[in-house]
């Protein structure tokens, strides 16, 4: 377990956390409404305006170290922020870029890359995507076909990455590739010659992409890390991503539960509000309890991000994902059920939240994957 130091944790938000989350909640209420979200989705590409408004409140620079123009915030603050973004069912690359991409660069040894990309990211002017998945093996974190070779003037990368979360909206991709029999991480600018991106919508209305690399040449400074260091960086970013994703799901569950409570109070059948029926009241109570368990497990994952023991950290992050996925399914499915026929239409918010919760279950490894990971880490 994490060190307790004999004193109890402080669950109250600090003054700064409270101000930050209040601002985010106002932003969500104002600019992440059903109509505005749907309109942005229809555009099919990242809204610069939406990203700028999130960056202004510090989302993009949240965990960027202060030395590189960011806020260097703790995992606890990251949790509170992504919880709010989940309440707003944000589709922008807050996790893929501002958590995972930033976690890799912030913790790597390549000072040149850090200086080039991190301050720009904190300003909201550079977006990163992590291209790790490939075809052929379910959720494999080991590159299968993507290979890099070193040459006199840098590296040449060849291969194909699939399901790159927010790949098309990024300015640079962090690509995993095999080099000399071990994994390496490269930073590949979006405009590199030989890099092709085919973008498609996902089940929740956000985007992912297939990225093809044909003899993409990058300079010697594009290598982020290789070997054990690359694996360690990737695992760290994965666990950061999992924690932020869990927080996002908890926020979405909270909002969805509130929306369902409101609906049951207003919808009348048999001459009374649906909220009067005990069987539905108990369902609401279960939804709430699921959300609280999931949020508590997300706290465990956030605490674990400061662990020195990486295996322990990953173990707890995966455990959190398993717990949150189960809760997310319960809350999402029951929110639809309690909305009745209206719940299965594409015309209410409940569908957007249900779809996002379904997507988070399958993002960054599903329950089968994480139970397998827990088993391997324990062995």
């Amino acid at each position: 377990m994490p060190a307790w130091n004999g004193k109890i944790m402080d669950f109250a938000y600090s003054e700064e956390q409270r101000m930050l989350t209040d601002s985010l909640r106002r932003l969500m209420a104002d600019a992440w409404t059903y109509d505005k979200r749907r309109a942005r989705q229809k555009e099919g590409k990242l809204s610069q305006l939406a990203w700028a408004s999130l960056s202004e409140l510090g989302v993009a620079g949240l965990i960027v170290p202060q030395d590189f123009g960011g806020f260097g915030e703790s995992p606890a603050t990251m949790l509170t922020v992504h919880f709010e973004l989940g309440r707003g069912v944000v589709s922008e690359p807050a996790i893929s870029s501002a958590v995972m991409g930033v976690a890799i660069l912030s913790n790597c040894e390549n000072v040149g890359l850090k200086g080039r990309w991190l301050p720009a990211h904190a300003e909201g002017e550079a977006i990163l995507a992590v291209a790790w998945q490939e075809e052929g093996e379910r959720y494999s974190t080991r590159p299968l076909c993507t290979k890099a070779v070193s040459s006199a003037d840098g590296f040449s990368i060849e291969g194909r990455k699939v399901l790159v979360w927010h790949g098309a909206g990024s300015d640079a991709l962090i690509v995993t590739a095999m080099m000399d029999g071990e994994m390496a991480l490269f930073l590949v600018p979006r405009d590199a010659e030989g890099l092709m991106i085919a973008d498609y919508p996902t089940m929740d209305g956000s985007r992912c992409a297939t990225v093809t690399l044909e003899h993409v040449r990058v300079g010697p400074d594009a290598l982020i890390a290789k070997g054990r260091a690359a694996n360690a960086l990737f695992d760290l970013a994965f666990d950061y991503g999992l924690t932020a994703l869990c927080a996002h799901a908890c926020g979405a569950m909270e909002y969805l539960t509130e929306a369902t409570i409101q609906y049951l109070k207003t919808r009348k059948q048999f001459g009374q509000p649906l909220a009067n029926f005990q069987v539905l009241q108990h369902r609401l109570a279960d939804m709430l309890a699921h959300k609280e368990m999931a949020l508590s497990m997300t706290y465990v994952a956030a605490t674990a991000l400061s662990e020195k023991d990486a295996a322990r950290r990953s173990h707890l992050a995966s455990m959190a994902k398993v717990e949150v996925a189960e809760a997310a399914r319960f809350v999402g499915e029951n929110a639809v059920q309690l909305h009745g026929g209206m719940g299965v239409t594409d015309e209410l918010e409940v569908g957007d939240y249900f779809k996002r919760l379904t997507y988070t279950d399958l993002l960054l490894g599903d329950t089968y994957y994480h139970l397998h990971r827990v088993q391997n880490l324990a062995a």
């Binding site: 379910r138 699939v162 399901l163 996902t202 059920q337 089968y368 139970l371």
Partner: protein, 396 residues
């Protein structure tokens, strides 16, 4: 109790299988197995093949042009046709209004409508739910007033499945506004091809547009379009819902989806081996297969006791069948894993090639899961079904 299939049933199964091998079109099979959307022509094409074989109304007695099959034969037929990838039968005519007309309809109604259901010359839809009357169906407000020799109907219906294809609607209307909820309701047959009928599609979570809102504004129906007696519509509606629930259990659907799930797990690789060898996945699939087998036997037990039409035990079938359809769709999506992220509505309409990664099937995996959420809501929510079980079987 004799728990073996008799030789006639075994021979019948083989007869159905042989027919499917010989006649069922491969392109339709492919479409259903990939979960691509079926068009009106697809349903009709399948139905016409059945008609040619004399199987146009598998659940009807011979006197009305049906097959006269036993409940067990019907079940075998459903399972075998679904397993082969056949589209579902057009239930609104065949299993809903058809049996109601046979029991409660006038001779003229039977002569006019029943033959055209078998040949799909008429497409029917169900005018039950309204925006304010879902679970509490008896609170419906659509009004039918007698004016001279006809009814003038005004109101709004919703969740009307495939109404955009329909020629006729069997519609629950309030004919006596002063009577207590269930007492003043009548069932009236409405010609949809007249002014005053407006159909608007409702887009559902999966991106489909199968259900509709229907507005009825001064719509006319001659008095002879009343089914049975005036203000007795609730009795007919309940009779019909019993039939609907048995069909909703979807045993054929479950068998087909289980086969799809297994084949998807076999084709998927994780940690260097087929996902079907992964003990977690394998156990989940085995558990769900046990439930499919149990549901089939439960259907047989209910069918054997229900020559006169299914009783309240149909609610058990509806609850468990709908949950099973949902669990199968969810497991398919989970097995597809990350490959189920892309959502490609054009491919689902068979209007574009699939460009995403992974198996073609995975393009519709999330849509299948989203779509199946309706099964625990339509035909009376599962909460309402549990109420029926408590009231009519348990008796408290």
């Amino acid at each position: 109790m004799d728990l073996t299939w008799n030789s006639e049933e075994i021979a019948f199964r083989e007869e159905v299988q042989a027919f499917l091998r010989e006649k069922f079109p491969a392109d339709l099979r492919e479409k259903t197995f990939r979960h691509q959307r079926l068009k009106k022509e697809d349903y009709i094409r399948w139905h016409r093949l059945l008609c040619e074989r004399g199987w146009g109304a598998p659940n009807w007695p011979k006197e009305y042009g049906g097959t006269g099959w036993t409940p067990v034969q019907r079940l075998i037929f459903e399972i075998e046709t679904f397993k082969a990838g056949a589209p579902r039968l057009l239930s609104f005519g065949l299993t809903m209004i058809g049996p109601v007309l046979m029991k409660f309809g006038s001779e003229a109604q039977k002569a006019k409508y029943l033959p055209r259901i078998i040949t799909v010359e008429d497409w029917w839809c169900q005018g039950y739910s309204e925006p304010g009357s879902g679970s509490d169906l008896a609170s419906l407000k659509t009004r039918a007033e007698r004016v001279g020799d006809k009814y003038i109907i005004n109101g709004q219906k919703t969740w009307t499945t495939l109404a955009h294809h329909a020629d006729h609607m069997f519609c629950l209307c309030r004919t006596d506004p002063s009577a207590k909820a269930q007492r003043g309701i009548s069932m009236i047959l409405i010609d949809m091809r007249q002014p005053g009928v407006t159909v608007r599609p409702i887009k559902t979570l999966d991106g489909g547009k199968e259900v509709n809102e229907v507005w009825l504004e001064n719509v006319e129906a001659p008095l002879e379009n009343l089914v049975g007696e005036e203000n007795q519509g609730w009795t007919y509606a309940k009779y019909l819902l019993g039939h609907e629930r048995t069909g909703i259990a979807g045993i054929g659907h479950c068998h087909r989806e289980l086969a799809i799930l297994k084949s998807l797990a076999e084709r998927t690789t994780a940690s260097g081996e087929s996902l079907s060898l992964n003990p977690r996945v394998r156990d989940d699939i085995n558990r769900i297969e046990a439930k499919v087998l149990a549901l089939e036997m439960l259907l047989l037990r209910v069918a054997a006791n229900s020559e006169a039409g299914p009783g309240p035990e149909a609610s058990i079938l509806k609850i468990r069948g709908s949950e099973l359809q949902q669990d199968l769709a969810r497991l398919q999506m989970q097995v597809a894993g990350a490959d189920s992220w892309p959502y490609d509505p054009d491919w689902m309409h068979a209007e574009a090639d699939f460009h995403g990664p992974g198996d073609e099937f995975s393009a519709a995996a999330s849509a299948g899961y989203f779509d199946m959420r309706k099964t625990s809501i339509y035909g009376g929510t599962n909460e309402v079904q549990k109420g029926i079980i408590v009231k009519h079987i348990i008796g408290v």
